[in-house]
Amino acid sequence: MAPRTKSLFPEEISERHTLSILVDNEAGVLGRIVGLFSARGYNIESLTVADITQDEAVSRITIVTSGPRRVIDQITAQLDRLVPVHSVTDLTELGPHVERELALVKVAGTGESRAEALRLAGIFRARPVDTTTQSFVFEISGSTVKVDQFIELMREVGLVEVARGGVVALSRGAEAR
């Protein structure tokens, strides 16, 4: 094995990683995970959690985090040693996976800007799920980038407020990972 480079952690470039964590659905488990991030100074960009088995025994927590590769590896190892954690999968590391986010976007306006909002929503395949003569609530889902872009555009046509669900993600292919 060739000796590695001697300068310490030269590649400290921040990367964005999506972690998929399967946990026992027990009281306090979310606190353990969130607390680990705050206690060790790791970032959370997005977090979603819900139980995913019929008996509600297991939850999937999807966390989008960012940091240098070394820190990401630490996060994975630290999560993995928590007792109620079944598995930690770094989907970004794993390669092909799908990531989706859901957002509700409220826009108010009349006349030209209202028509423009509806037209843009069509382009983004955002559905109006509430409509008044003064406003829409659009439902949009897609990649974080797409949701970001849509919200940016809505700012110009009367954005009122936004609720985002956070990223959910799964690996591609037939296997569960």
């Binding site: 094995m1 952690f9 606190g31 590896d73 040693r81 007792v83 109620p84």
Partner: protein, 583 residues
């Protein structure tokens, strides 16, 4: 078999008995009264009543560290639980297996700010390895068995089980569970063979190898210490140990370089700096060990063996990691080495450099005149006791470092000290726990006059249980380690580091039913130690030592292994602004 129903409290006691628990350390209160009543009605478990819950946890740590069996603590809700937090954190940092049972208010009162309610699982979530709030009596037996499994499996640590009072009162059936296999927590014990082979190759071909060992070797059990000797013998590699690993390799062995790190020996730190292969066994590249990271062992390849993969590449990047129990990995390494009939590379040049560093005699001190040098006191204590293979505990400060440097350990489980958390007040309760676990052993707390006052109330516990523990205070009338840093960093401005208004320790000891001895001058030292050893009850020795001695050698904060200070005249009293913020 369908047993009859038992109360939760009786289930707890029965489960503890089934788990082989013979001693628990605790303090009663409202939320654990049912458990105390269950203890009253049995005679298999001995309950040791401490005088403060922090001490219960340290005593359990001392018991665990000296026997290799998990320590058990029982405290009440609210203040009982919060008092235990320091000890729990201490056990987490030093990987000590503990099960801490805490009482809790009844389930229907949780969240109502009831009397002596606190969020124990919330408070201990990040200072325990795992914790539970048990809401059903039917789950209690299984949870207690699981708690022991988790405390002892993998990297050991403290597990807290919070038990509401109504859960202790309600009844359920209890059955001793079969072998526990946790559904998710399954630490890997055997190392990857290909990686082990690579490590053996690297070790055999290294010209300047070093074995850097830590507390993991001790946690792995006495077999690991024996295998470590075998590997050292086969590879000819020098061995250095962290504070927590002392005793895992015999201090008298010619291959031992002593402790490394901030107060380590010159030869250990230089060898770490200059080696071409570092084999880290159950240590974690702690900042006290590495010194400044960018100057840490710049030209070595590094292999890290640990049961906790989160320790890999945490602070220092290594070339090869082996996840597994140190004992198992050592066994495979030794087997492989022998099977392949390997010979170590030529290390003549390496050992001659090591001899050169050893000639610095970095632990040397000068004992002249009547004033007792603290190092001398420890050395005399070692001379007088080492044939009895004593268990030594310490408090935290200079005396702790001097004990680590000057008291030689030949076996594991004999050296009990608070490493990761550095908790003043650890030593006396830990000595009590160690004495209970090892009734025939000589147990001595090497203490400082400031630290000993942090759990001084435990003198009564030793008296109550007729424990012949010894406390040997190196009384320098200073929080010496704090003063040392003030000398190093703040030009000797001794802010609040003088131990004023000290009690008369001899009288205090006597008031608690101990024998008290004061040693004031060098000519009284050996006689005082002999008198301490001759007394079969607890003895408190107040040994007055040189007040201004500082602990050397020392790597100042922000410096590397090769920037060691060997003596006080190298101290300038100031450090760079960048180093001032380092602990």
């Amino acid at each position: 078999m369908q047993g009859r129903e038992l109360s939760g409290a009786d289930i707890i006691v029965k489960a503890l008995v089934d788990l082989g628990v013979d001693t628990i350390f605790g303090y009663p209160g409202g939320a654990v009264l049912p458990i105390y009543d269950a203890l009253f009605r049995q005679n298999k478990i001995r309950h040791i009543l401490v005088r403060h819950e922090q001490a219960a946890v340290h005593a359990a740590e001392g018991y665990a560290r000296s026997t290799g069996r998990p320590g058990v603590v029982l405290v009440t809700s609210g203040p009982g639980a919060t008092n235990a937090v320091t000890g729990i954190t201490d056990a987490l940092m030093d990987s000590i297996p503990l099960v801490v049972l805490t009482g809790q208010v009844a389930t229907h009162l949780i969240g109502s700010d009831a009397f002596q309610e606190c969020d124990t699982v919330g408070i201990t979530r990040h200072c325990s390895k795992h914790n539970y709030l048990v809401k059903e009596t039917a789950r209690l037996g299984a949870v207690i068995h699981e708690a022991f499994h988790i405390a002892t499996a993998g990297r050991p640590g403290p597990v807290v089980v919070d038990i509401p009072k109504n859960v202790q009162v309600a009844t359920a059936r209890y059955e001793k569970p079969a072998r526990i296999e946790h559904k998710t927590y399954r630490p890997r014990v055997k190392g990857d063979l290909a990686a082990i082979e690579a490590a053996v190759d690297m070790l055999a071909s290294a010209e300047r190898p070093i074995l850097y060992i830590g507390g993991g070797v001790i946690n792995s059990g006495p077999g690991a210490a024996q295998l470590l000797r075998d590997l050292a013998r086969l590879s000819h590699a020098p061995v250095t140990s962290t504070l927590m690993g002392l005793g895992a390799f015999p201090a008298s062995d010619p291959q031992f370089l002593g402790m490394l790190g901030m107060h380590g020996t010159y030869e250990a730190n230089f060898a770490m700096n200059q080696c071409d292969l570092m084999l880290c066994l159950g240590a974690r590249f702690d900042d006290r060990v590495t010194g400044r990271l960018d100057g840490f062992s710049p030209s070595s390849r590094k292999v890290h063996v640990d049961i906790d993969p989160s320790s890999f590449n945490k602070t220092v990047r290594v070339d090869l990691t082996i996840e597994g129990d140190v004992g198992h990995v050592l066994e495979d390494m030794v087997k492989l080495w022998r099977a392949r009939g390997l010979q170590p590379a030529d290390q003549q040049d390496w050992w001659s450099r090591i001899r050169g560093w050893r000639e610095k005699n970095s632990l040397a001190f000068r004992q002249e005149g009547a004033k007792i040098q603290p190092q001398h006191a420890i050395r005399r204590l070692w001379e007088a006791t080492h044939r009895r293979n004593p268990i030594i505990t310490t408090e935290v400060g200079q005396h702790q470092m001097w004990a680590a440097q000057h008291f030689d350990f030949e076996q594991p489980n004999k050296w009990l000290t608070s490493g990761g958390l550095g908790t003043m007040g650890y030593g006396l309760p830990a000595a009590i726990g160690a004495q209970l676990g090892n009734p025939g052993s000589l147990v001595i707390d090497i203490a400082g006059e400031a630290s000993i006052q942090m759990n001084i109330q435990e003198l009564a516990t030793a008296t109550q249980y007729r424990l012949p523990v010894k406390v040997f205070v190196l009384n320098n009338e200073y929080m010496g380690m704090v003063r040392q840093w003030q000398d190093l960093t703040y030009e000797g401005r001794h802010s609040q580091s003088y131990s004023d208004s000290l009690p008369d320790f001899v009288k205090l000891a006597e008031a608690y039913g101990w024998k008290g001895i004061r040693i004031e001058t060098e000519d009284q030292l050996d006689a005082g130690i002999a008198e301490m050893l001759a007394h079969d009850g607890p003895v408190f020795v107040d040994c007055l030592v040189e007040k201004h001695a500082n602990c050397f050698p020392m790597i100042p904060s922000g410096a590397t292994h090769v920037e060691m200070l060997l003596s006080p005249d190298q101290v300038s009293g100031k450090v760079a602004k960048s180093a001032e913020a380092l602990v």
